[in-house]
């Protein structure tokens, strides 16, 4: 196991380097006139920075390869640069914001699984019955409903009908855990429901595959109860690929969090990035971009490792 973890970590290095190049090149596509735009839009030039200072603050006055190496060197030392607006280091702010997004993501994932697993398993057990049909139509419909529409409706209609609206003043988890969880519940429900569609379909497909295998037939033949056959024998094996899906959904989850954070004004990474885009705060955009990519990679690594813990067949390969 130790050697396997090490090998996987080493395999991550080239991907990380490529990802950092993608981040770097994407942001470095800034054409010259954007500098002017930044100067005129933000009034940075007026009181804070001159054009040349801005260019050198962005590091645009050096050759590309040198810019990359300098930036990468700083990143490796934990320096993601400084915001053009607030003089706080980007890393500091990212670390402040990351827990909000992670909490939202974890809650949404838990809610998504709580919806998807029972329905997916039921749907497979009762294949082609009206119940299965309803569950399947529901999941296809969920795939089509944009989460930002659901979020908008959650903001608008309860307020009109019952005068209830989600709390927009963010309460930190460390200040009041209960209030914080209550506040996160509605956004997490919106995000989790939209995520559950894919998991539901996947669970159903995997269950159907497992239910047709010989050992399930043996379990039935032994006269075991349906509950035991399904819970003890089928679900455990069907869930392994579903765990991979959690890793695959990590990017979707973070992408969704950007929109949900904007609707419910949660101060996470998504809102941070949007604010940075609106203020054209490139060091912040680069920093968030990189941290998001690395987080997704680490989540996928953890998922792959847990795969080995869940399934003895994988462990010995």
């Amino acid at each position: 196991m130790g050697a396997y973890v090490l090998r996987r970590l080493l395999a991550l290095v080239p991907t990380l380097i490529l990802a950092s190049i993608i981040v770097f090149v994407t942001i470095r596509m800034i054409p010259g006139d954007v500098i002017d735009l930044m100067l005129s839009q933000n009034d940075i030039g007026a009181d804070k920075l001159s054009r040349d200072q801005l260019i050198s603050a962005l590091g645009l006055d050096k050759p590309m390869a040198e810019q990359y190496l300098r930036w990468m060197g700083a990143v490796l030392q934990g320096d993601l640069g400084t915001s053009l607006w607030h003089s706080t280091p980007v890393l500091q702010e990212v670390l402040d914001r990351l827990p909000v997004t992670l909490e939202l993501g974890a809650m949404a994932m838990a809610i998504g699984l709580a919806i998807a697993l029972p329905i997916g398993v039921y749907s497979a057990m009762r294949q082609d019955t009206p119940g299965d049909l309803i569950a399947r139509s529901f999941s296809i419909l969920l795939l089509a409903v944009p989460s930002f529409w659901v979020g908008t409706m959650v903001m608008v209609f309860p307020s009109i009908w019952w005068g209830w609206s989600p709390e927009v003043n963010y309460v930190k988890f460390s200040d009041d855990p209960l209030q914080n969880m209550k506040q996160m519940l509605v956004p997490a429900l919106v995000l989790g429901t939209s995520l559950s569609a894919v998991t539901m379909r996947m669970t159903r497909t995997m269950m159907l595959e497992v239910l047709r295998q010989d050992y399930i037939r043996t379990a039935w033949a032994k006269g075991l109860q349906e509950r035991v056959v399904v819970m003890r024998h089928a679900v455990r094996n069907a869930l392994i690929p579903v765990v991979t899906l959690i890793g695959l959904q990590a990017p979707l989850l973070i992408g969704g969090a950007v929109i949900i954070e904007q609707i419910f004004v949660l101060p996470g990474m998504g809102l941070m990035m949007l604010d940075a885009v609106n203020q054209r705060d490139y060091p912040v955009i680069t920093g968030v971009f990189l941290v998001v990519g690395v987080s997704v990679m680490l989540i996928n690594l953890l998922v792959d490792l847990s795969y080995g813990l869940l399934d003895p067949r994988v462990r010995h390969q």
């Binding site: 080239p14 991907t15 990380l16 490529l18 990802a19 190049i21 993608i22 981040v23 994407t26 942001i27 596509m29 800034i30 954007v34 296809i140 419909l141 795939l143 089509a144 409903v145 944009p146 930002f148 529409w149 908008t152 409706m153 903001m155 608008v156 209609f157 307020s159 009109i160 379909r201 497909t205 990017p251 979707l252 973070i254 992408g255 969704g256 950007v258 929109i259 904007q262 990035m273 949007l274 940075a276 885009v277 609106n278 054209r280 490139y282 955009i285 968030v288 971009f289 998001v292 990519g293 997704v296 990679m297 996928n300």
Partner: protein, 301 residues
Amino acid sequence: MSGTASTTTPVSAAAPPARGPVRVFFSRLVREKPVGAAAALLFLLFVFCGVFAEVLAPYGYNEINMLERLKAPSWAHPFGTDNLGRDMLSRCLYGAQLSVIIGLSAAALATIISVLIGLLSGYLGGKVDMIVQRIVDAYMSFPELVILIAVVSVVGPGMLQIIGVLSLVLGIGGSRIIRSAVVSARENMYVHAAQSIGASTGRVLWRHLLPNIMPPIIVLFTTRVGAVILIESGLSFLGLGVPPPAPTWGGLLSGSGRTYMFQGPWLALAPGLCLTVVVYATNVFGDALRDLLDPRMRGSK
């Protein structure tokens, strides 16, 4: 396997009155996938609304009428009016036009990019494949929306930028599907035969491989249309898509309009419903297409 082959082949082989593959396909669609056929009709209706928005819309998309502001749905304004008295039905129809333009062109471009990357990477294999796949890996570890937001922050919002960026990002992501189709197709006898009579790489790719991986390409394109429409509306919702006054569906739901939704809740309903119905129709049609054209991909839904 041989037992099932004998029962399935006559269906496709025996069709004595020479019917084109397209007609055969549509009759199969209607017969075997009635829901998919209905979804296809719904999708065509959406394209029709988009193409003829100028003719169908009773008002202009930016026609302000302060006397009629925030009117609830009525016969004169079936979807109601917004805070400037603009007819929501007309705005949704013009929104459909933008969605048609962006959806179809970005999905087409994305598919072309996927095919180019997938063909080269899958067919050439070896080092090229390994390098290309690592780049695709790295790319896919970023959420699409986050890449799009970062790129839009650089190129700025606008229709052409959105089409370009969406097709590039989705094109790289989709190349996986094409690559796996190429990898399995390249071991076919006809490919080896073409190689052994000295056909050039380009000829093998264009004349032999491409026609044989058309089913996954068509399916990819169809599902991409829905994905593009959904992501574009997300971007417009965040104010990073096609800038106002263009009435994109996502933009109609965005923050600036939200303040008026408390007085006119119909403002929140129409654009969201349009989006859901269109994306639903493309998804269902895409699933039906996949089941009919490409049985191998059936498990992957």
